[in-house]
Every structure is written in C-alpha cells, then in structure tokens.
Subunit: 110 residues, 2 copies
C-alpha cells in the first residue's frame, strides 16, 4: 500500500528538486529555462525532471520543439493524505497503550 509512496518521498528528499518544483510553482517552464534560473546544468535538471515525472509530481507538454513541465499539486495532496493517516494511526495506538498502562495498578519499582 505504501509501496508506491516511497519513490515519491525519495523524489522529494532532494534540495535541488525542490528548487525545481518551486520554480515550476511560479509557472510552467522547460528544462533549459530552468537551467537559466538555477545553478545547475540543463542535463542535471533534465534528470531531476525525469525522476519527478516518474512519480507523477510533474507533467510535460510539447510546445513546438520545447518540452514544458508543470508541477502537479494533486499528487502532493494524495501523498499528504496517506501520510496523515499513517501518523494518526501510530498516535492512536500509542495513546491506546498509554490508556491501558494508566489503568493498571501501579507497580512499585525500588
């Protein structure tokens, strides 16, 4: 269930990819356009875009001879919802354990 989630997190676990996503958040752009704004080569950016596209965080559209990329927020929302559910489950179990522990007769520890 969470299997498909891990690559998304791996993709999000890189600073450069976040700067790419941030740049795309202000409007679609091609790899070359991004390379003008960011301190990395176009090829490096193309690789990152490949990673992001593979996990659905960006989409690409051909415009003439250039490939424009767009950040896909929906994927983030889906991921966020799953994350929240998992976190809530852990805390639920934790508080359940706490409640049980507190209902027990106190054990004396010397």
């Amino acid at each position: 269930m969470t299997a498909m989630l891990v690559p998304v997190f791996a993709a999000l676990g890189d600073e450069t990819r976040w700067s790419i996503l941030a740049a795309l958040g202000e409007g679609d752009a091609s790899a070359s356009a991004l390379a003008d704004r960011l301190p990395v080569s176009r090829q490096a950016i193309a690789k990152h875009l490949g990673v992001l596209q593979q996990v659905g965080l960006v989409e690409s559209v051909r415009v003439g001879r250039e490939l424009r990329f767009r950040a896909v927020g929906a994927e983030l929302s889906v991921t966020a919802r799953k994350l929240d559910a998992i976190g809530a489950e852990w805390d639920r179990r934790l508080s359940a354990i706490k409640a049980i522990a507190e209902s027990l007769p106190r054990l004396e520890v010397e």
Copy 2:
C-alpha cells in the same frame, strides 16, 4: 520554510526505514529486537534509527541497558499538512491560469 522538510522526506524515501517504522507502529522495540524481525543486521537498523531520530520520526527511551524506540506520528502529521498546503497552492495557481486562459478571446492557430 521547506528547508527542514527535505531531510524528513529523504528519511522516508527508503523501504527499509518504512519496514522499521511499520514494525515500531505495532509497538516500541529496540534495535536488536527489530533486527530479529527484519532481514538486515542490527547495525544497519541502528543507523536507520539514527536517521529517523534526527528528523523526529522516532524517539528513544532507555530501559535498563536497552534503548527502546517509538514511532512519532505527530511529525508525520505536521509534514503531511505542509505537503498538502504546497500542493493546494500549486493547483490553485494552475486553475487561476486556466481561468484566465479560458476568459481570453480564442486565438486562431493555422
């Protein structure tokens, strides 16, 4: 703002760490106990727990001579909320651009 987020995603971008988190989700455990259940060495698990602890996804408590770890769901919830906000923002801008585009007189393309 998102700067502290990236290490969390990097920590979540590994299958083994997810199995550790999943195991901890069913109850606190030490590195050695986890090594009995998972197909990796104790030292490898200890490293992973170090990574997870550094980003606040697990906490440790000394019980006698053993170190017990617990999954912290709250950190996931915080992360999930930030993710959702970012995703919503991207989609908001995207739909805003769409709305503008659709309100414009249609351009003829030959």
